[in-house]
Structures are given as structure tokens and as C-alpha cells.
């Protein structure tokens, strides 16, 4: 049996992410001057979505197959509040995230008692119910969606109709959401969550009421997925059925897996990669999905741990 030699009795290995964090912030600040801002905004919305999803799958070991429910519901809620009620954008976003968190709580209460594939199936079923509800409901605009959503004046003075203002607001939202997730993963709570993923019966036998931890993680994940969805609605001034479609639930899984499950930066890379792919493959029309599928299969075979999973192995440090 292989056994590592005795390690020095130093304090815990520092898991400092200072360098990669600095690179991330720099990239986010510079990106719109290099690439189309709208493209980067889209990528950042999906990156936050994927990071929120990763909290569940990567750190709590829960595979939600219905995360579009939270992304899409918040997208509708934010768009509705902005267009029909004329709320200020920051309130619309908070409202969207809150709606997603409440739906997360409801979904979580139903799903978390189930394990593995049953958990995935219940989340998928609930998301599908919401999809058909959105298709029929009045306020979602059915097939047309909610169009012409006003971006408005954030805090009364940030004019979001100006592209670069909108961009830096999106960047700030993304970084805030990412900071929350980063802290959650590296918190006492995150430590327990990891333990539950690693060995749930053992965590129970130590007296942890594991469902409470899973539920908190679920609500956090849903709320931040909602923040991402609401932001997307403001950026594109549109909330539509695409946001609640199971395809979106599937894409966020792919992003996370391609980027690196359970790595803190991986889902960002995965989201950017997928957004770029969609953009550059757009001329292929209906072949986009097929090509995406092929690339996904290739990625899974070539780097099983995802981009950042492999990178973190090469660098011998958690990323």
C-alpha cells in the first residue's frame, strides 16, 4: 500500500489564490477592450451561473439537472420588474435572485431527501414543470418572451444603456458572486460540505444533520444562479423560454465539467469556452449542437478532470 512520507508538521498548506484571483480580475477589467463587450457580458453571466452550479455538484456532490429553473425564473422576474413595475435595475436584480432563492428552497426541500439519480430526476422534473408553466403563463409572454426590457439607471446614476457602464456593472456582479462562492467554499461551512461529499454516512455519524447543509448550499446556488439569469435579462433586454429550457440546464453541466468540476476557477473557463464556441460556430446553424457534443466528448476523453482540474494537477495546487 502506498503511503506518503511524513509531512512536516506545519500549519495547513496555504490555499492562497492570490495570483489566479489577480489574473481573473485583470482579465475581467481588460476584456471588453479586446473582445466584443456583449460577448464578454454573456460569458460572465454564464460563468457566474456555472460557478453557482459548481457549488452544488463540485463541492456538495449534488447533481441538479434543473438549474435553468433558477436562472430562467430570475430572468423573468427581473425582466418583469423592470418592464412592468419600472423598478430600478439593482432592485430588479435583487428581486430576481430572491425569487430564485425561494424557488431553490422549495425545490431543495423536495429534492434533497433523495439521493443520486433520484435527486437529478426530481430537479429535472420540477424544472420541466416550470418550463411548461412559463410557456402557458401570461406574464412570461409565452413563445415571445419578455422583450424590450429597459436597462435603466442603476442606483439612479449609472446609465446602463451605455455599453461600457453596463459591462462594468456586469463585471462587478460577477466578481461579487464569485467572491461569495469562493468564500463559501473556503469557509467552515464549505469544509463540512466537502466532508459530506466525501463520505456522507461518516458525516452523519459525527452528528451532522447533512440535509440542512445541502439545503443551504442549494439555496445559495439557486440564488446566485438567479443573479446570473437576471443580469443576463438586463444585458440582452430579454427573458425568454430559452432561459428555462432543459438545454440550459444541460449546458451549465457541460461548462462545469469542461472547465473542471470542483475547481474554483474551472467553471469560468468552461463558460467562456462554451460561449466562444457558440459564437464562432453560429454560422453552422443547427450543427452547433452536434459540434458542441463532439467537442464535449473529446474534452471528456482528453482531459477527464476538465481544463482546470488538469492544470491544478500539473501545478500541484488547488485552483
Amino acid at each position: 500500500m502506498s503511503e506518503a512520507s511524513a509531512a512536516p508538521a506545519a500549519e495547513l498548506a496555504p490555499r492562497s489564490h492570490r495570483a489566479p484571483l489577480a489574473i481573473l480580475v485583470a482579465l475581467v477589467l481588460v476584456a471588453p477592450w479586446v473582445v466584443y463587450p456583449v460577448f464578454v457580458m454573456k460569458a460572465l453571466c454564464f460563468a457566474l451561473f456555472a460557478c453557482a452550479f459548481n457549488l452544488l455538484l463540485g463541492y456538495a456532490g449534488l447533481l441538479s439537472f434543473g438549474h435553468a429553473l433558477f436562472f430562467g425564473a430570475a430572468s423573468y422576474a427581473t425582466a418583469h420588474a423592470a418592464l412592468e413595475w419600472g423598478w430600478r435595475p439593482e432592485l430588479c436584480l435583487v428581486f430576481g435572485a430572491a425569487v430564485a432563492a425561494v424557488l431553490g428552497l422549495a425545490t431543495g426541500l423536495v429534492a434533497i431527501r433523495r439521493q443520486g439519480i433520484y435527486f437529478a430526476m426530481i430537479t429535472l422534473a420540477l424544472a420541466q414543470m416550470f418550463f411548461f408553466f412559463s410557456l402557458r403563463a401570461e406574464f412570461t409572454g409565452g413563445e415571445n418572451g419578455i422583450q424590450g426590457v429597459p436597462r435603466g439607471m442603476m442606483f439612479g446614476f449609472l446609465d446602463l444603456s451605455r455599453t461600457y457602464v453596463m459591462y462594468y456593472v456586469v463585471a462587478a456582479i460577477f466578481l461579487l458572486g464569485f467572491a461569495i462562492l469562493h468564500r463559501t467554499v473556503h469557509s467552515p461551512f464549505g469544509q463540512v460540505l466537502t466532508a459530506i461529499r466525501e463520505n456522507e454516512p461518516r458525516a452523519i455519524s459525527l452528528g451532522y444533520k447533512v440535509n440542512q447543509y445541502k439545503l443551504i448550499a442549494f439555496v445559495l446556488s439557486a440564488g446566485l444562479a438567479g443573479l446570473a439569469g437576471g443580469t443576463k435579462a438586463l444585458v440582452f433586454q430579454l427573458a425568454s423560454l430559452t432561459d428555462v429550457h432543459w438545454n440550459t440546464s444541460g449546458e451549465v453541466i457541460l461548462m462545469t465539467l469542461i472547465g473542471g468540476l470542483g475547481t474554483i476557477f474551472g467553471p469560468i473557463a468552461g463558460a467562456v469556452f462554451m460561449a466562444a464556441l457558440e459564437n464562432y460556430l453560429a454560422q453552422l446553424g443547427s450543427w452547433v449542437t452536434v459540434t458542441e457534443g463532439a467537442i464535449f466528448v473529446f474534452c471528456v476523453i482528453a482531459f477527464r478532470r476538465g481544463m482546470f482540474g488538469e492544470l491544478s494537477r500539473l501545478l500541484k495546487r488547488p485552483l
Binding site: 511524513a6 469557509s187 467552515p188 469544509q191 463520505n199 461518516r202 455519524s205 459525527l206
Partner: protein, 252 residues
């Protein structure tokens, strides 16, 4: 035996799996401060008993009384919080956490702060000193930073015991603590059990009869889900029903 000296008692404990009775009317009394061994051939129902006692499985019938309190319907986590902590037959560590983190998870539960998702995990350093003391006690002080998955089997079991001890349980359930170990490890674990049993009660399932003979005050023999005999090692080992049950099994 006055009731205050009984820490755990079961009455008519039974478990049925789709018609198959794995545990049948078990009346067990574990005296406070003793090492009590539960032995029996493979498939006798020992692990199932542990699962019932800790509510990892619901009992089909019967009651479980711990410190005078009926815990037949408590949840597994509640039972652990009352100080009745189990280990598993298959080693149960958190494989990708370091040895220190493994123990710290238990300390964190006992001492709080485990819901704080907004605080840095640096606050957990407050537990390092106690964690190191526990690792010292089981001879793992040099492995604090090693991921648990890289430990040898014997050391994983030692880590499990350290993690369990971190909760300062009143009653510790050990399921085959020495199974699959080399002689050296077996002796180390045996010494460890003896040492930790000074301040608490231990109920253990063990196939190594040498360990059972040298450590335990009371032995309960289980066969096909039923209690066959109970008493000291001397009396139990002379019991003809016990000898018959063990004949023809690998532990005969």
C-alpha cells in the same frame, strides 16, 4: 445490575429485510465503563445491530434505551449528538481531506461554527491544537498534512478512532476495528482501545478472538440474529451452543 450502570439497553430488537430476519429479539445490556464485545459468525447480524442502534436503519420492532432515554425514533445525527458515536466496518475517513482536517471536522461539529459560510476557514485553526493532541494519541502526529486516502489501512482505522474521540463520545461503537490489519497494527489498535475505554464505554464487533479475550469484560454471542450466549470470555467459550455455531465457519 442497577439501571444507572446500564448505558445502553435494547429490548426485543428486531430487523426484517423483506421477510429475512437479520436481527431477532435481541435484548442487550451494556454496562457503563466496560468494553463489551459483540461476536458471532459472518452474517450473524452484528453490523445490522449497529445500524439499528445508531438509527442508520429503522428497527422493525423493539426499543433502544440510551442513558435512560428511549432513542428508538431519534435521527442518526441526534444520536451522535447524544454521545453515541459509531465507526464503520469499512474504513470511514474523508479521503481527500488531510488527516488533520478529518479530525477537525469532528471538532468543528462539537464546538460550533459549522454553518458559517461567510467566514474564512482560518477560524478553524483554533481547533488545530486539540486535533494534534488527538493525532498524537493515535500515533498519527507525523501524518497531519497527508490526505487520508494515502494512509495505510491500519492508519486509516487509527484516524477513524481519533476522529470519533474528537467528539468525546460516552459510548463508542467499533465495527471490526482490527479487520484486515497486520499484527503490528492490531496490537497498536488494541492498546488504543484499552486506553480510550478508561473514560468511556466501548461496544465492539470483533472477529479476532485474541483481542476479544484480552480486552472485553462482557461478550455477547450472536448467531442468525439471535443472542446465543452472554458473559465473560471463559464462560462463553465453553458454551456448547457457541462452539457449535462457530464450527464450520472460518472463525472456528
Amino acid at each position: 445490575m442497577p439501571d444507572s450502570d446500564v448505558i445502553l439497553e435494547t429490548r426485543g430488537l428486531s430487523k426484517e429485510f423483506r421477510g429475512f430476519v437479520a436481527v431477532k429479539g435481541v435484548d442487550l445490556k451494556v454496562a457503563r465503563g466496560t468494553i463489551h464485545a459483540l461476536i458471532g459468525p459472518n452474517g450473524a447480524g452484528k453490523t445490522t445491530c449497529f445500524n439499528l442502534l445508531t438509527r442508520f436503519l429503522p428497527a422493525t420492532s423493539g426499543t433502544i434505551v440510551y442513558r435512560g432515554e428511549d432513542i428508538t425514533r431519534a435521527s442518526p445525527a441526534e444520536i451522535a449528538r447524544k454521545g453515541l458515536v459509531r465507526s464503520f466496518q469499512i474504513s470511514a475517513v474523508f479521503p481527500h481531506l488531510t488527516v488533520l482536517e478529518n479530525v477537525r471536522i469532528a471538532l468543528q461539529r462539537k464546538r460550533g461554527s459549522s454553518f458559517d459560510f461567510w467566514r474564512s476557514d482560518r477560524v478553524l485553526r483554533a481547533y488545530h491544537q486539540r486535533a494534534r493532541e488527538l493525532l498524537d494519541a493515535v500515533g498519527l502526529q507525523d501524518f497531519a498534512q497527508v490526505p487520508a486516502i494515502e494512509l495505510s489501512y491500519g492508519r486509516k482505522r487509527a484516524l477513524e478512532i481519533a476522529t470519533t474521540l474528537a467528539l468525546e463520545p460516552e459510548l463508542m461503537l467499533l465495527d471490526e476495528p482490527t479487520a484486515g490489519m497486520g499484527n503490528e497494527d492490531v496490537e497498536r489498535i488494541a492498546r488504543l482501545i484499552q486506553q480510550v475505554a478508561k473514560d468511556r464505554t466501548v461496544l465492539m464487533v470483533e472477529h479476532n478472538l485474541g483481542i476479544v479475550a484480552s480486552l472485553s469484560h462482557t461478550i455477547t454471542v450472536l448467531a442468525r440474529g439471535e443472542v446465543l450466549a452472554e458473559g465473560s470470555y471463559q464462560s462463553v467459550s465453553k458454551n456448547s451452543a457457541v462452539i457449535a455455531a462457530y464450527l464450520g465457519t472460518e472463525h472456528g
